[in-house]
């Protein structure tokens, strides 16, 4: 199949970027989206041009490293997929694809389609952890947890931190990403020690990193590769309002 690509090229965070047109032919519908970009890069390299830089790692949909906004939708048109798991069969022969990086003020472009998502790490560092005893690995069944609670916590814990929610949000809010961790740990007994402080720490870090307010449009949950529930944001707001004005450590 044939595809026309309009790819965002930008030398660094300060440079002005623009969309550059590339034509690709003889593509297989079984190729993944990133393999298609590999083919393009091979052609560019053989011509001596600078290759298109993009983030990728595991290419099996579990690491959260791949990004890209394809025709206006984070991770492509399939919904609840990562870019690496999107295949060319999702597109029509001869289609024009608009490929842009994840955009947010807190996601500065490093080069081309690569963005710096460190701001998300700062939110997790602020409170996305638990206090536990050190030493030997504890006996797995020493803390009884109801099956439904374990399943529900795992739905939230499934977040791979790709940032598609932030890239999709019209306010560039990291609410879904942040709430996934808050809901995950609030549901489990291990998360109770810092339950009240965690949400305050993380929300403060979220605001300091320059993310916006959630306006509950629900667009984030529609693109999330791990289908993190939108209700986690409501859960986070509940946890925030539940925590006291000042919490002494």
């Amino acid at each position: 199949m044939k595809l026309t690509l309009k790819i965002w090229r930008q030398d660094n965070a300060k440079a002005k970027g623009k969309l550059v047109k590339y034509e690709l032919s003889d593509l297989s519908t079984d190729m993944s989206f990133l393999e298609m970009l590999d083919v393009l890069n091979e052609q560019l390299a053989s011509k001596g041009e600078r290759v298109v830089e993009f983030d990728h790692d595991c290419r099996e949909g579990i690491c959260g490293q791949c990004s890209l906004v394809i025709n206006g939708q984070a991770h492509g048109p399939e919904g609840h997929y990562t870019t690496c798991q999107t295949h060319l069969r999702s597109f029509k022969d001869g289609q024009t694809l608009n490929i842009e990086p994840f955009r947010a003020n807190s996601f500065p472009v490093i080069r081309d389609l690569k963005v710096d998502r460190t701001s998300m790490d700062h939110i997790i560092q602020a409170g996305g952890y638990i206090s536990s005893f050190t030493g030997m690995a504890p006996e797995a069944n020493s803390i009884p947890i109801h099956h439904n609670i374990a399943e529900s916590a795992f739905d939230s814990a499934a977040c791979i931190g790709c940032g598609a929610c932030i890239a999709t949000c019209k306010n560039s809010s990291a609410a879904l990403f942040m709430s996934a961790k808050i809901a995950h740990l609030a549901k489990l007994p291990q998360g109770q020690v810092e339950r009240a402080e965690r949400v305050v720490w993380m929300v403060n870090a979220h605001d300091d990193e320059g993310f916006g307010s959630c306006t509950n449009t629900g667009a984030c949950a529609m693109v999330c590769p791990q289908e993190v529930p939108l209700l986690d944001i409501t859960r986070m707001n509940y946890e925030y309002n539940r925590s006291l004005k000042t919490i002494d450590s």
């Binding site: 309009k6 965002w8 970027g17 969309l19 906004v69 025709n71 206006g72 939708q73 048109p77 919904g79 608009n98 842009e100 955009r103 947010a104 003020n105 807190s106 996601f107 999709t168 019209k170 306010n171 560039s172 809010s173 609410a175 009240a196 402080e197 305050v200 929300v203 403060n204 979220h206 605001d207 320059g210 993310f211 916006g212 307010s213 959630c214 306006t215 509950n216 449009t217 629900g218 667009a219 529609m222 693109v223 209700l231 944001i233 409501t234 859960r235 986070m236 707001n237 509940y238 946890e239 925030y240 309002n241 539940r242 925590s243 006291l244 004005k245 000042t246 919490i247 002494d248 450590s249």
Partner: protein, 228 residues
Amino acid sequence: MAIKKGLFKTSIGRKNLMAFTGLFTSFFLIIHLIGNLILIIPDSYFPIEFWGNVASAHDMYNAYSHFLVHFWPISLVAWVLYAALIVHVIDAILITLNNNKAKGEKYKVTDNSTSTWYSRNMGILGTIIGLFIFIHMTQFWLQYKVLENEHDLYNLVVATFKEWWVLVIYEIGIIALGFHLVHGIESAHRSLGVYPKNAMGIVKYIALCFGIIMAVLYAIIPIILYFK
């Protein structure tokens, strides 16, 4: 130590304030609607008893509006309502400015299929409603309560709605209000973290019903008055 910042200062705090002021104003809409419905009671329905000797929609409406203006607890609630509306607007501007700052470079191509148009355009809908409220208040609140130019509010209302352009402005304002409510009521519950036994579906349904019922009932009143 974890310190919660003030309501105006965090992304969640600002949304909580939006939710509180918005929900309070929504309650007012119900009360306001009950008063408005007096306008469309047909005269054949009278005489019914309403605080003594009342024999027509005309008298009943005027008695009701006189009560609203001269009963002090209601005046007190009215001041809270004005404050709530002003805070709602200021807070909305603060949130929008902050969100615009958070946004990076604009996408060349956007796909909006993942959310509803009215949930994305609450600010525009709110601005339409704000302009509508301004017109609405200069027409009635200013004339009746502040300047006291007109003492027979029923006559003023009926005369005002005989103009076609008034009808058009009111219908536009009410349609904007309906969409604003459908998203606003659901969003307010989400922002406050209210999720009764994970029953967000019920909240969503209530928001939809509330928005539609309010919009339809408010919308028919000017139409009936225009053709009466």
